[in-house]
Symmetry: C2
Subunit: 466 residues, 2 copies
């Protein structure tokens, strides 16, 4: 059935509906444009209308009305994702959860809140309440929502200690509304969490989350410099392997990233300076400085609690994760990036190999990550983009060498993930979204179960560019 946009809008007119074209356009975009490939495909995509529910009852009403009118619903938080997670490929309704920002309960080690609360505001509330904070957050902490992080993210600042969002224990409970004739409310814990976490809102809408908390410390943020790149990588790995030193971030930037792209750091580094960005708990600083003292190859050039730089560089985590790419893009619009996983135990060799083969076309930006109890690296490598063919070749070179790529130049769950169908997500979509109206075009397994991944998937119902 064709979508009855006008009918749905009319039925929802008593809610907070956005009608202004420019605002609809803004709410129809995320940070997909980090990828020239996605920019080429998705730049024109726009919703028909935007609605901002104030509570779960309104979410249910929106889903019910849109179901009745066959209107696709793409749900978003702040839209800070880079995989086009929140792009409404078919148009229809964008459901923006910004009003659902209540922090409901805070307990030792956990918090219950609505999905639309900003990570920053959630941390402020839990810190104020009892000196706690989220275990991990994206570098878009200041603007992103917890619901968006869970539905569209994988980990971030804190993952060097706690692993990824998908690891057992890093999400406690999700409350979800289905898109059926009569939407249901379901509560997911344990094995069920994988149905809807990192599912881009394709099979249910999260209306409440329960997340574990860690103690909030006044993290000491630092930059450490080395002349040799592998020294920097080894430094970050060895620090993360210090069981008694509590860290929240260890990021490695190959030269000349710091000099070329980090405007406020640039005066204090040379073009050949490799940089390490760190967050260390204050009670671990004595241990950290001892660790540092054993490594004459590493120089502490900045700490946020004691520095003489002319201007503060701002939070060090806003240099890491995908803020690195953002900073590079602002200076050189031809830069894009890859998401790489260098697995244990060959991670350092693999990093060195890829660098030897591809630098400076591909510059190494590494994030320390825990996976299966081991310290490894995620790469958010900066890529000097030339053509899609060359980008695909660079990806192929990584995969052939044994590095896993989570391709950020694709908008489907499968292509941006492990290139396999997630049966748990697919089965739940069949149950919870029988008409396939939730964030359409993002789950290949739903659209085209026989897809062979030999080329980039193109959603047949993607809006045509004008």
């Amino acid at each position: 059935m064709p979508a009855d946009i006008a009918g749905a809008k009319a039925a929802l007119s008593h809610l907070d509906i956005e009608e202004k074209e420019v605002a609809i356009k803004a709410a129809s975009r995320d940070f997909f444009w980090y990828s020239p490939v996605l920019k080429d495909r998705l730049d024109h995509v726009v919703a028909d209308f935007v609605v901002r529910p104030r509570n779960e009852a309104e979410v249910i009403e929106i889903l019910k009305v849109c179901y009745a009118h066959d209107v696709p619903v793409t749900t978003r938080g702040a839209g800070t994702g880079n995989y086009g997670q929140a792009m409404p490929l078919e148009g229809g309704c964008v459901m923006h959860l910004r009003h659902m920002d209540k922090v409901k309960e805070i307990h030792p080690g956990r918090v219950i809140c609505e999905p639309g609360v900003l990570l920053k505001d959630l941390d402020a509330a839990t810190k104020e309440h009892s000196g706690q904070e989220l275990r991990m957050f994206s570098s878009t902490w200041a603007t992103a929502t917890i619901g968006g992080f869970i539905a569209g993210g994988s980990g971030g600042v804190g993952s060097c200690t706690w692993g990824s969002l998908r690891d057992l224990g890093n999400i406690i409970r999700l409350r979800v509304v289905t898109m059926e004739e009569e939407p249901r409310i379901v509560e997911f814990t344990g094995e069920e969490l994988a149905r809807v976490s990192h599912a881009y809102g394709t099979n249910g809408i999260i209306t409440e989350v329960e997340m574990p908390l860690a103690p909030a410390y006044d993290w000491v943020e630092m930059f450490v410099a080395t002349d040799d790149f592998m020294d920097a990588a080894r430094f970050a790995e060895a620090l993360a392997n210090q069981d008694g030193i509590l860290i929240k971030l260890a990021t490695v930037f190959e030269a000349p990233i710091a000099k070329d792209y980090f405007q406020r750091v640039a005066p204090y580094v040379e073009a050949d300076t490799n940089l390490i960005g760190l967050m260390v708990a204050p009670q671990s600083m004595d241990g950290f400085l001892t660790f540092l003292g054993r490594r004459p190859e590493a120089r502490l050039i900045y700490r946020n609690d004691d520095f003489d730089w002319a201007r503060t560089p701002g939070p060090v985590f806003e240099y890491g994760w995908n803020h690195t790419t953002l900073r590079a893009l602002k200076v050189d619009p031809s830069i894009t990036y890859l998401q790489v996983r260098y697995g244990y135990p060959n991670h350092l060799d693999l990093i060195e190999k890829m660098r030897n083969e591809l630098s400076p076309e591909v510059l190494q930006h590494l994030e320390v990550l825990r996976e299966g109890g081991k310290v490894i690296f995620a790469g958010l490598s900066l890529v000097k983009f030339t053509t899609e063919e060359r980008l695909d070749e660079i990806i192929r070179l990584h995969e052939e060498a044994g590095a896993m790529i989570f391709n950020p130049h694709r908008y489907t769950l499968e292509e941006g993930g492990r290139q396999t169908v997630d049966d748990r997500q697919l089965r739940f979509k069949k149950e919870a979204d029988p008409k396939g109206l939730l964030n359409p075009g993002k789950m290949i397994a739903w659209d085209d179960p026989d897809w062979d991944y030999s080329r980039m998937y193109a959603y047949p119902k993607l809006q045509a560019a004008e």
Copy 2:
């Protein structure tokens, strides 16, 4: 010079001096008797007098007076060590720090206190103040002191997450008094901490400690049972490798330890039941139960927040670390133990090999430990003692197989450690204890630099048995 005991006692008579023979005898003993070897050598050892300083000034006075009178000083907390750490081999003065139990300052992530405070009382104070607790503690938490733990211990409950006391960051600062004509006060941080931590009070007396804290949770304590021993070991390792599940203890007991030695657990297990003791943070219980659900070979038989056992078994950590040996000893006085380190990555193979060769003469008791960022196992194996020769042979079999032994049947730092001289400790002893009066007989490097470790060291000035 011979010790002038009477002169020292007279000079210290205004302090809290213990004169009663039975009390002096009690204060001259630690838990060395877990070892039949040490029991044979040290059972008769007794101090000439015991003094209990109330503050640092009195510590200084005692050390100064004993220095002037050439009286050896062996310092103790609760005397819960098992290596004879607190045994006054030459007699002389035992300095008991029980009065020095003030908690001075509590901050986010750290605490400053005197050495004589009980671990239990320290945790109570930091929990009450701000929901914090020590990162790790010995299973003698209820009776042991923080100073004794630092001077004589290596790790314990919490080391599965935070590593060992010697790891950078697990001790922040130690304030130490030397034993010279004019005792000095020195403050140690960083690299200097290794001079006096785990030095048995042989080269300085700790008068103040600064330790890192972790959040205090209402840990869920559990017993999980398996039929197969290696299943239990793999379960504990895999759980500790779950980055998102916060644990404080993972202990593995080979059958029939639980049935034979754990009186309150025995009714709920069979002779062939292998047991896992766990402490899991409450916010991690959903993740834990999911982990458990994936392992049909493991059965949850007890959790302290929901159980139908006739009697509570008490704290689960009081079954682990060296409480396991204590419980076994109470049932079977012929039991003793070994301290083993099964290093990464061959730890599981090594454990299986030693068990195949030696069970049931040696029963596996494993503690999950983090070392260098990896999950490994410490073994506190239960040994059915026959002869010293056989015990030495069992040790040799472990060492030949590649397992490191920290021999708890020796009273010197070197033999109970890595069988090498710790230059940092020795150098500081030369500076801080020129007469060699602090806990004499415990540092071979001081007594006999050319000792070749071919046999058990026997301190020449050890008190003769009557």
